[in-house]
Symmetry: C2
Subunit: 402 residues, 2 copies
């Protein structure tokens, strides 16, 4: 074997580290840990019988095409089903040519990084922002510019300030990365006025927006603001979707909706990344949408997660010590817990693990290292009884650090 | 929309172009074209009934785990099945920790490029070499060093010469890329003595070897030389495997077998690339191996492709004009056609398409632009009758250029 294999690794490789979340997930495999850490859907949310039926009928009806290579762009039937859904969301200006199927959203994030980022390029993201996005981009060596949040998400005033300073320095960020609906990790939804403010800034400074939208359809209550893609319509917004939270993550199917000038390059990147996404699973998913089974199951997921979220909020109110605050999301899978400023969630983590409860410390979602007093909490995965026991343990761990 | 979106693209993106092979595959979707172009398995090779059964039983037996996220490393059951097969191949020094599941071999190739290649790094490959490998590496900006072939594959004498020159210049290539069994596109299998020569050089100059092995199990006749991974045993060989040609490409499942010092970085790269490969399909594949259905079907694939290859060779002997030569592979999916030196397969391509027969021009497999008088021919996809008609048309197109 070669001595010092480390010396052979590329700059990209040297920027990689094992994901804190993925390592956390390993803890969830210990059966006695109550995990609020991962972003796992509930096992009761999966449509087992539907999948069994469709997995057979797809082979019977589509035969060879279900097992052969797909085109890189993806299964036409699936793209048409997705188009219909997006047209109902007000994306009336797009066609199936604006949709490319990916091997779930993580691939979309990676390929966006690949086609846009040179080392040193500026990428704008929220403080906090989804770790999987940050990590995918980080491989390509960008400088992440974090924008603070208020209760409406990314602050437009700070964004404008940063864009102005960059512009005066002759720099143009490659894109602004946002998760407008039930943001991961904060659980905040951007109201329409804030979306418009950000789009206006993107137009003014000619910057792309990446609208990562994995949870939008899991809305428990309230009115959905328009998608940023629908508010823009000039092709400046790139939207990412996925079935991972609204069908099942084990299928690894996502998609990207974008202007064709971007998709052309994106398809080239996907050709070398994995040629195409599973034709078999794409065809099952297409049929799942086409037959209306998707909508039926989604209604069940929304009901289940709504109850779980309400249950967790009630448990927080009962067990959390004074000084701890939390967001109360209108949908999605996560909420964010704020400890008193002087506390460090990283230290509480180890005590919590001893008490057999897990979460993700919030600072990993902050590209500037802030957020040490925050915790990301998932409420979709465990059942209600386990949730109560987990919140008790977590509250105990926090109390001991006060 | 942003003006001049092209200016936003990264260096990686600027190195990408649409794959000639993928674009060729679009031609095969015209129903009246006889395609020897793609690398598609025969539709009669897919185990439709087995998949229908297993797709149901996996849900019944594994339930939630089949639809949830997998670990990035992959399904343990599948890794154990693969380990057993590799142990029979003489890889007695490895464990499941040396195997990571990927979203088919194209992902393995891309991630190898990602973790090893900085712009300007040297990568050694064959003249010719698999285009999907070359394209995946090219994104990261390496300088490809092509090594000429003889009837035994990559020439060890030229390889040594190049390694020596590079070493004297203080340069170490990141790896040597080889496809030892039924090489794509040349159809040549490296005998054991040549494998050993190349491994000895890799040891002497401390260079990794990437052994891309998608066809090894599709052997029609003759004795298989030992795998390069088995001949090395020091961890200096990285082996890539895939189910695409021996089960079905629609599953997008491959794997990488490597030393843990390499796999650790590889897993980090996969975490940001797509988190994990489909758990559902991994579990179906594991059961397919475990129950012995895989072996049974593989025997059928080998029989079918052997007959198809023999049929094609017979057709060549009957219809090809004098001066045209071809390789006669002992397995795999491809053979290579050599025209008289002065002919250009790129020009014949358009005449062939007019006659409704497609192939891939050989120069795209040569990183130095040579090989203009060569054609890659696939014999697995079309049935025998179509094959005869296709060879007649191809022979006609070649004759017209003489």
């Amino acid at each position: 074997m070669i001595s010092n294999i480390q010396n052979l690794f590329s700059d990209q490789a040297n920027r990689m580290k094992r994901s804190a979340i993925r390592e956390c997930l390993k803890l969830t495999q210990q059966p006695d840990i109550i995990s609020f850490a991962g972003g796992l859907p509930s096992k009761t949310s999966f449509p087992y019988d539907d999948i069994k039926k469709l997995a057979v009928s797809v082979i019977e009806e589509d035969g060879p095409a279900a097992l052969q290579y797909s085109t890189t762009e993806g299964d036409n039937g699936l793209r048409e089903q997705l188009l219909k859904r997006y047209q109902r969301e007000g994306l009336t200006h797009i066609t199936t040519d604006n949709i490319v199927i990916t091997t779930a959203s993580q691939q979309s994030l990676d390929l966006l990084g690949k086609i846009f980022i040179n080392p040193g390029d500026k990428i704008i993201c929220g403080l906090p922002s989804y770790l999987g996005g940050i990590s995918a981009f980080a491989v390509y060596g960008p400088e992440l510019v974090g924008i603070k949040f208020d209760e409406h998400g990314m602050r437009a005033d700070i964004l404008e300030e940063k864009l102005k300073v960059l512009s005066e320095a002759g720099e143009k960020p490659k894109f602004i990365y946002v998760i407008p609906d039930f943001q991961n990790p904060a659980g905040i939804t951007m109201p329409e006025f804030r979306r418009k403010e950000i789009i206006d800034l993107a137009h003014k400074y000619e910057v792309l927006i990446v609208e990562d939208s994995p949870y939008r359809e899991v809305r428990f209550e309230g009115q959905a603001p328009a998608m940023m893609h629908a508010l823009d319509k000039t092709g400046q917004v790139i939207t990412l979707g996925t079935f991972s939270k609204i069908f099942c993550p084990g299928f690894r199917i996502g998609w990207i909706v974008a202007d064709q000038s971007i998709l052309e390059k994106f398809v080239q990147a996907k050709q070398t990344a994995d040629l195409c996404t599973s034709s078999y699973l794409q065809k099952i998913a297409a049929k799942y949408l086409e037959t209306g089974l998707f909508e039926k199951n989604l209604t069940g997921i929304i009901q289940e997660y709504k109850q779980k979220k309400n249950h967790m909020i009630k448990n927080f109110e009962t067990y959390m010590p004074e000084g701890v605050r939390w967001t109360n999301p209108e949908g999605g899978l996560f909420l964010f817990l704020y400890l008193p400023e002087h506390l460090d969630a990283g230290k509480i983590f180890f005590n919590a693990i001893e008490k057999k409860v897990a979460f993700v410390q919030g600072d990993v979602f902050h590209c500037d290292g802030s957020g040490k007093n925050t915790l990301r909490i998932n409420f979709s995965f465990v059942d209600k009884e386990t949730n109560t026991e987990g919140v008790k343990r977590l509250a105990e761990a926090i109390k001991e650090s006060l």
